[in-house]
């Protein structure tokens, strides 16, 4: 019979933290002893303990502490994780080594410069574009109707929190810094598969070029590291198929399945019942 007794956690963790500041020639690792304050203590809490009690110069980026904002991506013992979502208990040896995400320039200590990441993200227009429904998109009056199956087409890709771990794990980004990267490419699939969107040709132009979608070698490291369970490698394969089909003109053949366009919901029925007076006229002019 297997024992249900859990192995006791060390009372203190040895935390080696990557240190680097602008102007310094070489980075180094500083070692800190961090007492475990509760069984669910996370790596981020350990880092904040260091910052508050041992070394206030430690630079670490964080915000929500609940794996939603994507600010605290870093490497712990060589593995890409969200520090707020990784418990010390996952490392029973009592020793961890924390490093900033590779493939990004280091600003200071564990903080990396994400500007290139967001440049690529913005480049693919990560929002609904619908030239035919522009007025409705900008000033919504009704909802677009999508079946649950149509939502499933892109739902998992919309879980991305832009932590940047996929880009840090990507071997192609390591060898080709101009590569758009898994996050931006996955975002293209997320919006191109959305039936409310009409900007897919623009996005295909952006990715169907050198250093675009074709540089992906399908290593799968992005999917492996994603803390939200998104599968960017799959999204990129979808995107390759879409680019080839569009490039060869297959989607213009009469028998090829056409893209669906989400219809607008019918106008709501007047909710006002008889006998109820109309609202007073606007006091603020409509802009």
């Amino acid at each position: 019979m297997a024992s249900t007794k859990q192995k006791a956690l060390p009372e203190t963790y040895t935390v080696e933290v990557f240190r680097f500041a602008p102007g310094e020639k070489k980075p180094r690792y500083d070692r800190f002893e961090v007492p475990v304050q509760h069984p669910g203590m996370t790596v981020l809490e350990a880092l904040l303990y260091i910052k508050e009690n041992l070394d206030p110069t430690l630079a670490v980026r964080y915000s929500c502490r609940m794996a939603v904002c994507g600010s605290c991506g870093m490497y712990v013992n060589g593995k890409g994780v969200l520090a707020c979502h990784t418990r010390l208990a996952e490392f029973p040896s009592g020793k961890i080594r924390v490093s900033p995400m590779p493939n990004y320039p280091v600003v200071k200590d564990l903080m990396t410069d994400m500007s290139e990441f967001f440049t690529h993200h913005r480049e693919v227009k990560p929002y609904i574009i619908n030239p035919e429904m522009r007025a409705e998109i900008e000033r919504p009056t009704r909802e677009f109707l999508q079946t649950p199956e149509e939502v499933e087409e892109y739902l998992q890709f919309s879980y991305c929190i832009k932590c940047g771990l996929c880009v840090s794990a990507c071997p192609t980004v390591a060898s080709d810094p101009d590569f758009l990267g898994p996050q931006a490419l996955m975002t293209v699939t997320r919006y191109n598969r959305d039936t409310r969107d009409g900007g897919w040709t623009y996005r295909l132009e952006v990715v169907d070029r050198p250093h675009g979608v074709w540089n992906c070698h399908f290593a799968g490291a992005c999917t492996e590291v994603c803390p939200k369970g998104v599968d960017p490698a799959l999204a990129i394969q979808f995107l390759k198929r879409e680019a080839v089909v569009h490039g060869l003109g297959l989607d213009r053949l009469p028998f090829w399945p056409k893209r669906k366009q989400a219809p607008l919901a019918p106008p709501p029925k007047p909710a006002r019942r008889k006998g109820i007076p109309a609202p007073p006229p606007r006091t603020v002019p409509e802009s």
């Binding site: 192609t172 060898s175 080709d176 101009d178 590569f179 169907d208 070029r209 050198p210 250093h211 675009g212 979608v213 074709w214 540089n215 390759k240 680019a243 080839v244 569009h246 490039g247 060869l248």
Partner: protein, 121 residues
Amino acid sequence: MREGVAWALHLFAGVILFFLLLFHVTQMHVALFPGWGEAALEWTNVLARAGARGWKILYLLFLAAALYHGFFGLRNVLIEISFLRRRVNEVTIVLSALGVILFAYGFYTTLATPSPMPGLP
């Protein structure tokens, strides 16, 4: 040409190469196995094949597929991992020119072989 179309052709050329290589190996090297097709390797038969129209078409296709597949792959490697990363157009033009020259040379060599070869039955 769109990058996606070029990439699809790269894959297509790879598939063609697979089958042509299989055909080439079974025709030219199968004699490695005792009792199998030694006659195919006799010099007169090699020359006869070189002069046959079907074989010429086959080898021109082989040459085109191999050159495209090889040079497109080389281009991708160069623009991904070398100092030529931001010189995509220059790399593409140089490698395309090299490919066309090599194809022209192979085309000339293939067509220059008389068809059928003189002196052969």
